[in-house]
């Protein structure tokens, strides 16, 4: 068949598909067709695919080939778009998917925990015994500001009582930006063969351990520990989980096993993303607790008992949520 005849025969169909695509490419609220474009769309699209192959095999002109290729190219994403019930998937992920994913990759979690916790304990004990050790970790100004912040003489650290609720909200925003950012970076650093992740875990462990040891040595334990113990359940666990996700990336690159490094990286990244997203939600919760609960001036007993409850909750959630009866997950 000659090109001209071919074009005349099918021009109507191409035009129809073109109009349908133009409509589908608009923002949802402007579209005429709210859904995928009815039963005609797949059949129209597939016929145009056939026409494109014919145009190629019959050596029709480049411009016609280009036009049909562009129709196929534009139609393809609409037919193969992932349409998912995202609300249901988020709920399923929070309740079951995240703890299961963490348990599936628990070895990374334990390594990450060790990298974070062991230096923290070591430096913590060191700073508790040696008054000058903290200055080899942090500069004098930071140490001084930490000391005033948790000085028991300073009842409402860093803020005037009448503005407390507003300041709480500022801190809520700050914790979100800062802590979730650290979590994301701990994950991303994993692609540098895991080095970035290890560095961030180690760094945060050393600083936190050092500050805790130093403040306890000064006798500020009754302001410091009640403050950090509550949100720490979510915050510290989540940072360790982000570290585990980063280590998964690093491990994929260092020891891909039977796969190519690139394939291992892609598969591990998809799995690790679940941990990161779950941890981000935990950090969000931690920011809320830290801003509105930890900073409140309730009795120490109340703070500690809530903290114990929160730690128990985290352990039960991550350790047991989503286990089936047979315990296979």
């Amino acid at each position: 068949m000659r090109q001209e005849q071919f074009e005349q025969e099918h021009a109507e169909l191409w035009q129809a598909l073109e109009e349908q695509l133009a409509d589908l490419e608009q923002p949802r609220f402007k579209r005429i067709q709210k859904r995928m474009g009815g039963p005609e769309f797949p059949s129209r699209y597939r016929r145009v695919c056939t026409h494109y192959s014919l145009a190629l095999s019959r050596a029709y002109s480049p411009a016609l080939q280009e036009r049909l290729h562009s129709l196929v190219l534009r139609g393809h994403p609409h037919l193969y778009r992932q349409q998912t019930a995202w609300r249901w998937r988020i709920l399923h992920f929070v309740l079951l998917g995240f703890p299961r994913a963490l348990r599936r990759h628990s070895s990374y979690f334990w390594v990450s925990l060790a990298v974070f916790l062991l230096p923290a304990l070591l430096v913590g004990v060191g700073c508790y015994q040696d008054r000058d050790l903290i200055y080899s970790i942090l500069d004098e100004q930071t140490v001084a500001s930490m000391e005033t912040m948790y000085d028991p003489a300073n009842r409402q650290p860093g803020r005037a009582p009448e503005r407390s609720s507003e300041t709480d909200f500022v801190m809520f925003g700050y914790y979100i930006m800062n802590n979730i950012g650290i979590g994301f970076r701990a994950f991303a650093g994993g692609i540098l063969l895991g080095v970035g992740t290890l560095f961030l875990l180690l760094f945060n462990g050393v600083v936190l351990g050092g500050v805790a040891g130093h403040l306890t040595r000064l006798g500020y334990q009754d302001t410091f520990w009640p403050f950090v113990s509550g949100h720490g359940a979510f915050e510290l666990t989540a940072i360790v989980i982000c570290g585990a996700a980063g280590l998964m990336l690093g491990h994929a690159l260092l020891a891909p096993g039977q796969r190519t490094r690139l394939m291992a990286l892609k598969q591990q990244a998809a799995a690790a993303l679940q941990l990161v997203m779950g941890a981000a939600l935990m950090l969000l919760l931690a920011a809320f607790i830290e801003a509105f609960w930890s900073s409140s001036s309730l009795p120490i007993g109340a703070k500690y008992s809530v903290a114990a409850l929160l730690w128990l909750l985290v352990v039960l959630y991550l350790g047991w949520m989503g286990r089936s009866n047979r315990g296979s997950h």
């Binding site: 074009e7 699209y45 016609l64 562009s70 909200f169 500022v170």
Partner: protein, 250 residues
């Protein structure tokens, strides 16, 4: 990843076979066009930061809190929102490029989040040095985030307006033409309109052995050959007689 059908070593064209049995072709976007897209996005983001700061600082403490949350969301999720919605951030849209999976399908939510979280590392040690290095080393211009997410940044082709020649005559070439030769003549007829007449004549005179003509006459003769390839002689005439007027193709 779907294996490519041996692309030429230096070509940036990538093709994927789709279930319909045809091959989709994508042209990869290189570092320069992506840097331009990034610069546009950076400007938009900067503007968003300023607007957010101006608008919310009036609200006092709660406003500052919301502002910080807004900063966090813009920093990490600005590209994700646009990539999932339109396949490209405003900067990429302006540069005519978009993000796809490496099997040719639209970017998935998980892949979009991964490539944008890893942006933090691509940026290291400063100004996307690592990302640029990775793009220059990889045959498909992928930065580290693209490698981990399995995504590609490609051009979104806008097919040009087709200008088939106004030459009405039909003439059969004296010799049998191969497929490739026919394609060359068709391309000449379709793209000739975009060239200067001197260049058209210069190109047409390359085929003096075939046409035996020079000057504008050679161009017209090649157009007539192209018309013969598209229409044929008798077939086209009879077909056009049978179809109602005004229904001609584009």
């Amino acid at each position: 990843m779907i294996p490519h059908a041996e692309p030429p070593l230096t070509d940036t064209l990538r093709a994927y076979e789709i279930p319909e049995g045809v091959r989709l072709e994508f042209r990869l976007a290189g570092p320069v066009v992506r840097a331009c897209a990034w610069a546009i996005d950076a400007a938009i983001r900067g503007l968003l930061y300023v607007l957010l700061a101006l608008g919310l600082s009036l609200l006092g403490g709660i406003g500052v809190g919301i502002m910080l949350i807004g900063f966090f969301l813009i920093e990490w999720f600005y590209p994700v929102v646009f990539e999932l919605h339109k396949g490209a951030t405003p900067g990429k849209q302006a540069m005519g490029i978009w993000v796809i999976q490496d099997n040719g399908t639209p970017v998935s939510p998980a892949a979009s989040v991964i490539r944008n979280l890893l942006r933090a590392v691509d940026f290291l040690p400063l100004f996307y040095a690592l990302g640029l290095l990775s793009m220059l080393l990889d045959r498909e211009f992928r930065r580290l985030g693209d490698l981990a997410a399995g995504t590609l940044v490609v051009y979104r082709d806008q097919p040009g307006e087709r200008k088939m020649t106004a030459e009405a005559r039909v003439s059969k070439p004296a010799v049998e033409l191969s497929r490739e030769e026919q394609m060359v003549l068709l391309a000449f007829a379709e793209r000739g309109g975009g060239l200067s007449s001197a260049r058209r004549i210069e190109l047409a005179e390359l085929l003096r052995d075939l046409t035996g003509l020079t000057g504008q006459a050679a161009v017209d003769r090649l157009y007539a050959y192209a018309n013969w390839i598209v229409r044929g002689h008798a077939q086209a005439a009879s077909y056009r007689a049978a179809s109602p007027p005004g229904q001609a193709g584009p």
